[in-house]
Symmetry: C2
């Protein structure tokens, strides 16, 4: 089975399955049908079965899923326990919040370096790392490997920063600058928090009708 | 047509369509086929047609979509231009980053009040609002209406904060505390940034294989 053919929509649901299964486990629920799981998650049972079939099925239909098995397999597919070494570029409020989010560390993120241009910030520390000037990133990445870059810089500079990091060998970008960027040969996750705001607004308005 | 029957998966794609269409408009592209749109967005053309059919279709199949019309209709469905009056609870790094995100203001968010318990933070200002002690929230919400609460508090207190705001009439919650919460009768958007991290990791690993 070629995992590359799994659609992005399915992949994006896997972390949600992982969270729901974690909650089930913490409540000592060891068996769940696709119907029950679908009701908890607001998906259809057939959607869940289709999703799991992309990865080989995870269990016997009609008998329910083994929660722990499913949890472990999804953890492995997502690489939860893989260490992801990350540099943070942009140590404003958002950068600091990201660097200190304990939830990321639970999911394997390790901050190895932090960079900014602001002289008031350079020399301070964030998430256990000293903040260096961005011009120190070339020698830093010659000595240290980074799997990912977290981009928390203004939209006007994000493309230049990404290009610079790509030249230095970084191939994964978690981009919080509110603009979509892409470089062929690298993987970008462009986060748009406003999408979530609009979804909330839509759902609230339509729940209230 | 009953919009309540539109699935959450479709609703979550609408902001993405909105962004792509905005980009097309800014590049003076006025007509696009579902095939072209699907290639840009990494969805199937049939998925796009199905999505748009949930809202009445938006145009003639085979002739392409009118980008401006589609953009305006999706803007209206999402209520982009509706003002969403929000209180922020929790003025740490993340709360400050959220309060100052210009992208949210473009999408109608207006911060009307900010609350924290930390005496070093109370009395300062964030996003143009003075930060008040959380115990001032009852009188504040008696005088001021809030459509939404942005929760940027630690996971250990988020449920208590949400309950307190619900009692005061708040019915929409944008929750950044990394835990799923729910109150019947209210709408919750529980943001899990780690989901996006795991998706990035998965995609990067599988692109590289």
């Amino acid at each position: 089975m070629d995992k590359k053919q799994v659609s992005l929509a399915v992949i994006r649901r896997l972390p949600r399955y992982h969270r729901y299964l974690e909650e089930l486990l913490s409540n000592d629920i060891n068996k769940i049908s696709s119907k029950e799981l679908s009701e908890r998650m607001g998906l259809t049972a057939s959607q869940i079965r289709q999703d799991f079939n992309c990865f080989g099925g995870f269990g016997q239909q009609g008998y329910g899923y083994n929660v722990e098995l499913l949890y472990n397999e999804i953890s492995e597919i997502l690489g939860i326990s893989d260490i992801k070494r990350a540099v943070l570029v942009g140590v404003g409020n958002l950068g600091r919040a990201l660097a200190n989010n304990p939830d990321f560390f639970r999911h394997g993120l390790r901050l190895v370096g932090a960079f900014d241009v602001n002289p008031d910030i350079v020399g301070k520390s964030v998430g256990g790392c000293p903040v260096m000037h961005i011009d120190a990133i070339e020698p830093f990445l010659e000595r240290n490997q980074a799997d990912l870059a977290i981009l928390a810089v203004p939209p006007s500079v994000v493309m230049a920063v990404a290009d610079r990091l790509f030249e230095l060998g970084v191939r994964g970008f978690w981009n919080f600058s509110n603009v979509d960027i892409d470089i062929p040969g690298a993987t970008f996750e462009n986060v748009h928090l406003a999408d979530s705001l609009m979804t909330l607004h839509y759902r609230k308005r339509n729940n209230e009708n």
